[in-house]
Point group: D2
Chain length 345, copies 4
Amino acid sequence: MTYTASVVGGSGFTGGELLRILDGHPEFEIAQATSRSKENKTVGHSHPNLRHLDLRFTSPEDLESVDVLFAGTPHGVSMEHVDAFQDAADTVVDLSADFRLDSEEQYDEWYDGHTRPELLAESEYALPELNRENLPGADLIASGGCNATATIMGLLPLFEHDILSGDEQIVVDVKVGSSEGGAGGGEASSHPERSGVVRPYAPTGHRHEAEIEQFLGVDVSFTVHAVDMIRGAAATCHIFPDGPVSKGDMWGAYRGSYEDEPFVRMASGGGGVYRYPEPKAVAGTNFAEVGFEVDAANRRLVVFSAIDNMMKGSAGQAVHAANVALGLEETAGLDFTGFHPVGAP
Amino acid sequence: MTYTASVVGGSGFTGGELLRILDGHPEFEIAQATSRSKENKTVGHSHPNLRHLDLRFTSPEDLESVDVLFAGTPHGVSMEHVDAFQDAADTVVDLSADFRLDSEEQYDEWYDGHTRPELLAESEYALPELNRENLPGADLIASGGCNATATIMGLLPLFEHDILSGDEQIVVDVKVGSSEGGAGGGEASSHPERSGVVRPYAPTGHRHEAEIEQFLGVDVSFTVHAVDMIRGAAATCHIFPDGPVSKGDMWGAYRGSYEDEPFVRMASGGGGVYRYPEPKAVAGTNFAEVGFEVDAANRRLVVFSAIDNMMKGSAGQAVHAANVALGLEETAGLDFTGFHPVGAP
Amino acid sequence: MTYTASVVGGSGFTGGELLRILDGHPEFEIAQATSRSKENKTVGHSHPNLRHLDLRFTSPEDLESVDVLFAGTPHGVSMEHVDAFQDAADTVVDLSADFRLDSEEQYDEWYDGHTRPELLAESEYALPELNRENLPGADLIASGGCNATATIMGLLPLFEHDILSGDEQIVVDVKVGSSEGGAGGGEASSHPERSGVVRPYAPTGHRHEAEIEQFLGVDVSFTVHAVDMIRGAAATCHIFPDGPVSKGDMWGAYRGSYEDEPFVRMASGGGGVYRYPEPKAVAGTNFAEVGFEVDAANRRLVVFSAIDNMMKGSAGQAVHAANVALGLEETAGLDFTGFHPVGAP
Amino acid sequence: MTYTASVVGGSGFTGGELLRILDGHPEFEIAQATSRSKENKTVGHSHPNLRHLDLRFTSPEDLESVDVLFAGTPHGVSMEHVDAFQDAADTVVDLSADFRLDSEEQYDEWYDGHTRPELLAESEYALPELNRENLPGADLIASGGCNATATIMGLLPLFEHDILSGDEQIVVDVKVGSSEGGAGGGEASSHPERSGVVRPYAPTGHRHEAEIEQFLGVDVSFTVHAVDMIRGAAATCHIFPDGPVSKGDMWGAYRGSYEDEPFVRMASGGGGVYRYPEPKAVAGTNFAEVGFEVDAANRRLVVFSAIDNMMKGSAGQAVHAANVALGLEETAGLDFTGFHPVGAP
């Protein structure tokens, strides 16, 4: 093991996934996991899958010096503590929304006032498929939002290959699992109320639109539904291009963008039960699945993408970016392929 | 009890719901329930909720004379047996797709050849909110498709009140439960494969588009996803109107169309956990819930509608239409209000 | 409608079920629904299935005079307010554990100190199958615990017909849904943590043992597991009788006790998918299902029973008892038969 | 990579798990995956988590020579083909019930006639915690039944440490997921019928009793319930020992048997949400979790154990045994620790 790592905010869901990944990562050693509310408790107390680990949460006030610090803290907390994070580690990877956007103007449009706006231009967006070239040596990395990541993974090839220009009408209808709400949760996320739902929870104005706009240069009509799964974000993009687009054009774009990507799988109308992207197929993994159909009758493209919101949409993306930043094998620690069948992923 | 009724195809899911409704209906008496595969077995053998009924399936070859015959048989079967059905009953209510469309041309565009095309013009579409005035005295009634019903219930007021003309871009993103596939099912609907899914099962070209086009005069971009529930169809309509539409315009349209409808509830951004239409809120009932938001930033209307596909989307709609056809109280036999909380509906 | 009724604690799960039942009850009119936390809000705000009702919660401080008051308040609250309840209503039906046991000694063994112990001997246990003869005219009725009800319904015939004497070894292994925890809930009942569980939540010493002991005169080895459903309590009783017991003996006992009971269905090894009692088969209804097998090889009887914990195990039992107390038709307001298929019940 | 391996019956659920494990195993290389029904299709066609693998099913008629052959074929198939399996491989690990029992007499008591009874005495039971010393060099290994494995893991320390002798009354109440039924499945395992169940599917006489009796020398009263999860078998053992047993005795036994076992975790009444063994906590992993409570009032021991039926209860146990047989690191290929939260596991 070459690098030491800490996880700040280790008792939350994304903190637990960071610990799970780092525990199995050949190049990282976990130096510290902090949790204000679970100080001195074992990590297994919060994360039963890690019951066998001999590791206890420590206070976030006493950060050890490490190579990489991963922050799984809620939105708004990272910007308050970023100096301490950067004092403790050469590389800071933040999983909150605090450093995803490029400017204070963008931030203020979607969130409340930023206390460290000068860092916005400096930080790098984690998603390697979008921003790989800027990650090596980065010292502040912002892991993307899960719904934004699912959407960007679905749409990126169409922009990279000029099938879309940014003026098109695009509806993004997203379905997400309950882990997006984090551990704890209130009445709406209690099991009796949250089970079996198809619940419009962000009909309009979801904040992840900001990331999509920033990186793809397009305004999308975004609506998010809660459905009965724990993990997973599935985006269905309904796109109305200016002119005709063939299946061959589509395959060309997606293959062109993704054929060498280690964490992208195409699933587009093959046989069997799983013909298109599904959160079930990527549960627990860092894969994004992408697929599409051309609806000639309605001059529409339908693009499906699916990720595990805790992995490709959060902790997995963060470690992937750290791997790139440090020059490690990109897939190190992220080679779990998932299992089948799996229930609500 | 004034009227006798039979259920042909009584061992299927919609057959079971017909039997459940008719058993509790103050004006109907069940004369016969047929099932080719379950002949001589009790109805409780197929439908455990009806274990207390002293009723056995009989052969569909020997139909008794009744006032109303409900056919819960698969697509294509009703058109083969419609003469026998009409010989046995003055009023035939068919739950399949066989008699929903108005002309052979429409039928052939979406299904395979119709053997009794002359009946297409004669039959009446069951949905009372759309076709109430033509139901009294009708002798062949076609209960609507579940996904079409959910969509039509969501869009109808916008057409009735001239907010839409039919030229607009409309994306309909539907989420449905596993009961749509009927009893039995194959590998894709086995519990290990079907649990926890967000699965695109009809990316484009779903047949229910035909009904929507026929009744609303608009082509919609229709995509259906399977999600983890048993019952329920939830339609999210993303609409791009030609000019600005205010929330007041929307409330005017929906109140205008629905305020006197006994089976429509508005749910549009109120407080609490259930702010918009949800299949959970209508499980087991004949209610449709409808709600909306105006997305001014994207010049979009977002309309949500939710039904129980077995009830408002099938058996409940059928009995509602029969009530209207016979001049009974519209809500007779359909006054179950559902229960809360309920799991995957 | 002949009788007026109020529901105190109307915004909780059992309160919602009481309102649902009373709204459809031919002999009751809802006079008042109280909720301290939801005062002035519509009942639909808490219970989406009742969105169509024009009824708002009022303060529990101002109780109207009614014929029957149903209290859906938490354990310990009813004993504090029982005077106000009895001032307001001739008949009080309490759904908490406060008045289920007969003596202060029993109460203190399982709960903390009772503030009105003199009422324990006076109150009547609601379960009509056990206590029908004492209900007419009762002025304080205690609806049974859900797990106790499931167990008593399973074992009662064996005691009534002297197959068991009370000295036998009996293991009761119970599986329950998440609604037992009530609305709100903490981390353990959040959707991500509670979904898909088989979780031992009361390995030993569950308080409902007290009711079973009181009414059947037997000590049972009781263990409760949380499983992934919302409603439902299923008890599997593993019984080791002193001598051989035949299937005929068993059928004799169960038929003897239950053949005239309107809310008991036997399900014992017939054909089809649903061969034994299942919570799914009784979801939303007041039915208890009971069935058994004789395990000759191990000299064991296996008895299965299933109820909807919110209905037969709480609100339904309460209304059933009120019907008996007032001399109404026993099934009045409770004739909903459930629907099939249903998801996690 | 040192060893070549094939998977016969690769398109079934256990076949898919074998392929998933072997693909990530540092010492094995997959030479061949066979499937009669899916010949020439990619493994990803059956197992979407393996979509990225460049591997197609071949006919089971043409077996390549390999070091280890894993057979994921149904009961009865392995005994027909065992000569071909043994011709192809030095070590055969069979996941069916064909070679688990020691004698033809035992086999005939629980199954239908064995065609190769002479192999019963020769084959080794795979469970290393029970049979580690006999595995090195074994050429025919039988992976245990999932429900038997869960039960044996729970009870074994009590027999190894003489807390039980085999004469005690033991009730084993098991809860299992739907993957036990395998891919495909009929009406009872369709999603609408199987979701949300607590369904007694083997009230008495389950065949896995045979393995428990063979290895522990005790007759248990065994009952299996289907519950709403995909993976997982949870056994609750209710034990009535002859004399008093303290918590200290219990801890001594379990620590004595398991403290050095790499795939056993104790979970016995600690804090947090997950206090006892749960299938959720071990989903996708080869861990068994074990815990207990002493019910002094009823002179009962309650032992909980939980495994993933596809892993510790099948494919994981098989690879673990192969690792031992070949002298490899026991945990090789089996170091996935699971993730949290996970839905229906």
